[in-house]
Symmetry: C2
Subunit: 447 residues, 2 copies
C-alpha cells in the first residue's frame, strides 16, 4: 500500500458521499469487479490474485464522474477505471485497493455519422457495430473479446485485433480522434484532447484521466464471409497469410494462422479441422471470395468452411478463436498453457523459431498492419513450467531478433512499450498529481 494514499477510509461513508450512484461493496461481487483475464499468466496470477477494490461505483453521467473524482482527491483514495474486464495484463486490477469506477452504465452512443462516431466509454463493441452497420459503417478494429469488450476499455488497455490488417493499431494516427476526460487535480476538471494529443490517454490503463467520451473513426461495413482454409504445411499457411494480407485486390478483416496442434483446442470447429493440418481462420469481403479462392489454390490450401455474413452472424464468429481467444480455448482444455506476444518481422525468422518450437511452443499468427507493412504478430501458446523457463524462452526469441511484448507484466512500460513515455508521464503529473489513478501501473511516474 502506497504511503501517499489514505489507508484509513470508511467506504460506507464514501458510498454515502456518492449517494445517487449505484455502489457495490459486497465482497464476492467486488472480487469479480477487481479482476480481468490476468489468469492467462501464471506470473500475474501470483502477483495479482489477491488485489481487490473496496468499493465499486457505477456512474451514469460525466457530472457523476466529476463527483467521484472530487471524492477521491479529497480523501486521497486510489481510483481504478474498469471497462468490461476483458484485458489480460491486469490493466484494471487495483493494486492499491480503493474505488473501482465501472463504466458499464456510461454506455450511450452520443452520435454516429458516416466515418466517425462519438461514444461513451462503456459502449460495448459488438452492440455499437450493430447500430453503426445500420448506416453502413463499423469499428475499424476490435479484439477477440468484441462481444463483451467496451470501447473505452479497448482504447485504454488494448492495441489491435480484427481490422488491424487494414487500419493498424489503435495508436495509429487517425483511429482515435478525440477524448474527453475528467482529471484528478486538486480541482478535478473536464478536459478535451484531440488529434495527436489523444496519445496521452491511449493504452494508458486509465492512469491519465477518466475517459467520459471518445470520438472514433469508422470503417465502411462489408458483409464479412468467414472462411477456414487448411494446409498440410505450417510455413505454407504462414506464407498464405502474408500473401492474403498483402493482396491489394482482396478486402479482408481477419487473417489468423494456426499451427497444429492448436486446432485441437477449437472444439466447435473440429469438423473443419483435419487432424495434423494447419489452418487459416479468415474474414474476407463476400464480394472478394472468388479471388480468395484463387489465392487458396495458389498455396494449395483447402477450404473446409465458408459462411456468408448472414449465416456467420447466427453462430459463433471465427473471430472468437483468434487473437487471445485462442489462449482462452486452449486453457479450457489445458489450464497449464500460457502465451507470449511476438513480432517476428520476417517469415524467415518465423520459420527459424517454428523449427525450434518443439512441443513447448505452439504458434499462431495474427496479421496486422504495423508501420508500412502487414506483419504477423505471434501469440504463441506456451506449455508453462517455470518463470525462469518462460524468461529463457523470451530471451531466446529476442536474441534471434524477434520482439516480445511481454504479457506477464502489469505496468504499461514493461509490456509492449518497453520504455517510459515522457509525454504520458508529464501529462499524468498534471492531471493526476496525487497518483490516484490506477496506481502502480505507470512505472515512469512518481509523485
Amino acid at each position: 500500500m502506497n504511503a501517499n494514499t489514505n489507508t484509513n477510509i470508511n467506504y460506507q461513508a464514501i458510498a454515502k458521499e456518492l449517494a445517487g450512484m449505484e455502489t457495490i461493496s459486497d465482497r464476492d461481487r467486488l472480487t469479480k469487479l477487481s479482476l480481468d483475464y490476468y489468469h492467462f499468466s501464471p506470473i500475474l496470477t501470483e502477483q495479482l490474485q489477491d488485489k481487490r477494490g473496496e468499493l465499486a461505483i457505477f456512474p451514469t453521467t460525466e457530472e457523476e464522474i466529476v463527483r467521484v473524482a472530487h471524492t477521491c482527491v479529497k480523501h486521497k483514495i486510489p481510483l481504478t477505471v474498469r471497462g468490461a474486464g476483458t484485458g489480460n495484463y491486469g490493466q484494471c486490477i487495483p493494486l492499491q485497493g480503493g474505488i473501482i469506477l465501472d463504466t458499464a452504465k456510461m454506455n450511450q452512443i452520443k452520435w454516429l455519422k458516416p466515418g466517425i462516431a462519438c461514444v461513451q466509454p462503456g459502449v460495448k463493441m459488438a452492440a455499437f457495430d450493430k447500430k453503426a452497420r445500420e448506416i453502413g459503417w463499423e469499428l475499424r478494429m476490435a479484439p477477440s473479446t468484441y462481444r463483451t469488450a467496451s470501447i473505452g476499455g479497448f482504447i485504454s488497455g488494448g492495441s489491435a485485433g480484427m481490422g488491424s490488417v487494414n487500419y493498424g493499431q489503435i495508436s495509429d494516427r487517425g483511429n482515435l480522434r478525440r477524448v474527453r476526460i475528467v482529471t484528478l487535480e486538486a480541482q478535478p476538471q473536464v478536459m478535451e484532447l484531440s488529434g495527436d494529443e489523444v496519445q496521452k490517454v491511449l493504452h494508458a490503463y486509465g492512469t491519465t484521466g477518466i475517459i467520459t467520451e471518445l470520438e472514433i473513426a469508422l470503417a465502411p461495413a462489408y458483409p464479412w464471409q468467414e472462411v477456414i482454409v487448411v494446409f498440410a504445411d505450417f510455413m505454407t499457411a504462414a506464407k498464405f497469410g502474408q500473401a492474403l494480407s498483402d493482396s491489394n485486390g482482396i478486402v479482408k478483416k481477419l487473417v489468423s494462422i494456426h499451427a497444429a496442434p492448436i486446432t485441437r483446442y477449437f472444439a466447435a470447429l473440429q469438423n473443419y479441422l483435419p487432424e495434423g493440418k494447419h489452418c487459416a481462420l479468415l474474414m474476407v469481403s463476400e464480394y472478394d471470395f472468388a479471388p480468395l479462392q484463387d489465392l487458396v489454390r495458389e498455396y494449395q490450401g483447402e477450404i473446409t468452411y465458408s459462411k456468408s455474413a448472414s449465416e456467420a452472424i447466427k453462430g459463433t464468429s471465427l473471430l472468437e478463436f483468434t487473437w487471445n481467444h485462442t489462449t482462452l480455448h486452449a486453457r479450457n482444455v489445458d489450464s497449464n498453457l500460457t502465451y507470449l506476444q511476438t513480432f517476428y518481422f520476417t517469415l524467415d525468422r518465423l520459420e527459424q523459431l517454428y523449427q525450434q518450437a518443439g512441443d513447448e511452443i505452439m504458434i499462431h499468427l495474427e496479421f496486422l498492419r504495423a508501420g508500412n507493412k502487414a506483419v504477423p504478430a505471434g501469440l504463441q501458446l506456451i506449455r508453462y513450467t517455470t518463470e525462469a523457463r518462460l524468461n529463457e524462452i523470451i530471451r531466446n526469441h529476442e536474441s534471434q531478433g524477434a520482439f516480445i511484448a511481454n504479457p506477464h507484466v502489469y505496468t504499461i512500460e514493461d509490456g509492449g512499450n518497453k520504455q517510459i513515455d515522457p509525454q504520458k508521464v508529464a501529462f499524468k503529473q498534471k492531471v493526476d498529481p496525487y497518483g490516484l489513478l490506477n496506481p502502480g501501473k505507470m512505472r515512469g511516474f512518481s509523485k
Copy 2:
C-alpha cells in the same frame, strides 16, 4: 506491312458487308480515330505519326462484334480495338492499317451491385462512378484521364492511377474479375475468362481478343476532399507522401508529390503554389481531414487549398494535374518536354537521383501499392534533346537500381513488362492464330 495480312482490301465492300453498323472512312476522322497521346514521346511520334486505320467501325452489341471478327478473319484484315484513345504508348494505333473497332457505343452498365459491377468496355470511367456512387461505390482505381477514358481501354492499356495507393494495379488479383471476349479464330467465338485467367487480356493492348464485357471490383465511395500542401524542401514533401501512403489510420485516394518548378505548369493552381515550393496534390477522406492536418504539421507543410468533395466536384479535380496529366499540362507550356516512368523503390535512391536531376529532369511521384508496400512511382518530366540522351538517362537510372517502364516503345514487352509473357503469347496463338489483333504490339508472338 505484314505479308500475312491482306493488303488488297476494298474497304467500301467491307463497310457494306458490315451494314447496320456505323462506319467511318473519312480520312480526317480516321486520323483522329487512329491515334492516342503517343505524341508525349518524340520517339513514338516519329515511329507512329503516319499510322492509320482504313475503316473505323462502331458496333453496339456483342453480336455485331462477332460479325466484325468474322469479316476480319475471312479477309485477313488487321483489327485494332480502341477505347477513348487516352493512352500514351500508341496502344491503339494500328501499325498495319486495317479496321479500327471503336468501343464508344458499347457503353452499357450491365449491372451494378455493392462491391462488383459488370460493364461493356466503352463505359466512361467518370460516368460509371456517377452511377456507382448512387449506391455508395466507385471504381477502385482510375487514371488521370478519368473523365474521358473508357473502362475497357484502361484494363487493356492502363495499369494504375488514383486509388492505386489502396488497391495496387489493375493486374492485382481481385481487381478485374471476369472478361468476355470475341476471338479471331477461323470460327470466331465468344469466350469467358474469370479469376486468374483474366491476366491473359489485361494490359494486352487488345491483342488477345475483343473485350465485350468486364466484371470489375469496386471500392466504397468516400467523399474525397482535395488538398494542396506545399513544402520548402522536396525530400520532405516526398517523405510526407510516403508517410501519408503508410498512414493506416488516414483513408486516401491520391498522393501526388511535385518538385518545383513543375508547379509552374499548373496554370489553374497558381494561387495555391508559391514560387519555388514543392507540392503535394491529395485526395483524402473528408472524415480523415483532421489527422491529415496533424501529419502535415509533423512534416512542416502548409495547406494552401482544401475543397470538400461537394465543392471539388464543381471544378477541375486535382487528379487532372497528376499522373500523366502532369505531362499534358507541362507540354501545353513547353512541347519539348517528355517523360519517363520510374520505380525508385526507396526514398534514398530517389534522393540520390533528385540530386542528379539538374534542370533536365523534373520529378513528380505518384504513390501506389506495389506488392506489399506503398511505393512512389516517378513520372519525371524530361527536357528532350536526343534519343541517345534519353536512353543515357534511362541507363543512368537503371545503373543506380531504379526500374524504368519505358514509355517510348510501343510493344507490350518493351514497356513495363520487360519480358515476354508466355501465357499471353500462348493464349494469342489460340484466339488470334492469324495475328490480326493489333498486329506488331506483342513482340513474343509470331504466326
